[in-house]
């Protein structure tokens, strides 16, 4: 195999980041659009139907005009799979930063990233430790952009439940949706992380949001049905569609712990995966 220079690697990752963000911001994944269409078809509440109709019209318009789906273009969360032959160096994170800054200027994206205490805006959607980059081994060199808006992130929750009360997981997830109400722009997708450590549970919840939503296991389906029974509806105006899907990811945990994290995702569940071309 020919050797890849740091510069080539940085450029390839930058291009992939820009490309993935451009797709994610303007084109909703097919499984999410299909779930919204199914909700529109089955929804009987006229207000909820109108809200879902507006959402579907907005998705089509964004695609047609190549404009961001939502004005909150989020913060960049990036997942990379790295094949064995590609060296894990700082060039990868540098490439992501460069790609995010270029995408911010070209799409354009709203500059959302600020310093947490001074609230000073960098203007590039980059900051200390931002964009967030997760790298894991894989067979192919891919990059996934998951731009995450604040409305749904702000009402996400984590709890260290009692290990003797596994049944409380369901209650905690439904309660999180109840307290969030209309604020996360429902219909939502709930990413649930169970187990691991305090921090791993939150990452599992975020990773769960990468999963396609056209398939749920019985536990996920039960929580989804429970949340929909609350009747919060699209935008909190009432209706049968509060939750499009629940996705759960698990990890082993301490015998004395039961961490549970719920990462809420608004209906604009933007994610796009591209190949990194060297």
């Amino acid at each position: 195999m020919h050797t890849v220079t740091e510069q080539q690697l940085c450029q390839a990752v930058s291009d992939a980041t820009k490309r993935a963000l451009a797709i994610a911001e303007t084109h909703l994944p097919d499984d999410v659009t299909a779930a919204l269409q199914a909700a529109y078809a089955s929804e009987k509440n006229p207000v909820a139907r109108a809200e879902l109709g507006a959402i579907l019209e907005n998705i089509a318009l964004a695609e047609e005009t190549n404009r961001p789906i939502c004005q909150d273009t989020g913060v960049p969360v990036i997942f990379i799979t790295l094949p064995r032959k590609i060296p894990l160096t700082a060039a990868i994170e540098e490439g992501v930063r460069d790609g995010v800054a270029r995408a911010t200027a070209s799409i354009p994206l709203r500059p959302n990233v600020v310093s947490p205490m001074t609230r000073a805006n960098s203007g590039t959607n980059c900051g200390e430790g931002m964009p967030i980059v997760h790298i894991s081994p894989g067979d192919t060199f891919t990059l996934t952009a998951l731009p995450k808006g604040a409305g749904s992130e702000n009402v996400s929750r984590i709890a260290m439940l009692l290990p003797s009360r596994v049944d409380d997981i369901r209650r905690f997830v439904v309660e999180t949706a109840l307290e969030a109400g209309g604020r996360p722009c429902p219909p939502v997708i709930l990413g649930v992380g169970i187990g691991g450590t305090f921090d791993r549970a939150a990452l599992l919840a975020k990773e769960a949001l990468l999963e396609p939503i056209n398939d749920m296991d019985p536990f996920e389906q039960q929580i989804c049905d429970d949340v929909n029974r609350l009747g919060i509806g699209p935008m909190g105006l009432g209706g049968a569609t509060t939750c499009l899907a629940v996705k759960v990811k698990q990890a082993g945990c301490h015998t004395a712990s039961l961490p549970v994290a719920v990462n809420i995702q608004c209906w604009a569940a933007r994610r796009a995966t591209v190949e990194v071309v060297l």
């Binding site: 404009r67 789906i69 939502c70 209650r171 439904v174 109400g181 429970d226 609350l230 909190g236 105006l237």
Partner: protein, 181 residues
Amino acid sequence: MTTHLNTPLGDEVLDLNAGDRVTLSGMVYTARDEAHLRMQEEGFPFDPKGAVIYHCGPVISGETVVAAGPTTSARMNALTGFLLDAGVRALIGKGGMNADVAGLLRGRAVYLAFTGGCAALAASRMNVRGVWFEDLGMPEAVWALELDHLPLTVGMDAHGHDLFGDVTERAQAEFVRMFPK
């Protein structure tokens, strides 16, 4: 049934009920937290009588609205009284407002919900007509936007009905039924 409204608004808003669908055309003025504070101090740069306030921090490029969905209205709960006292007839936003605002709306104005996240749809139905307080930055400035049939839901009417409040109350009751203890 969809009612069509044109700005400036008058007593026709008193006929609306929570849950009604409306389309709105004419001028609206964007205002977030900072703009509310500025107008409270310095007065209105536009005629507030019959005016419509839009809780929105738009992305504007030159004369073009790139994205202009609604922001969370609840942040403006405590900043809304002076608008209604000055004759504002409608507020547009997402997520609804509190019981204090529901009381202030009685007999004079309505809260209209625009679908959160629908930035492209919003942008396709509006044009920029002016701007004030640009020193506050693009999202916080007051933008005069001319709407063309923006689809909205009456979230809170002028008779004290609040769709958001009703939905929350029912959801809480359902939760207690599901998880009694």
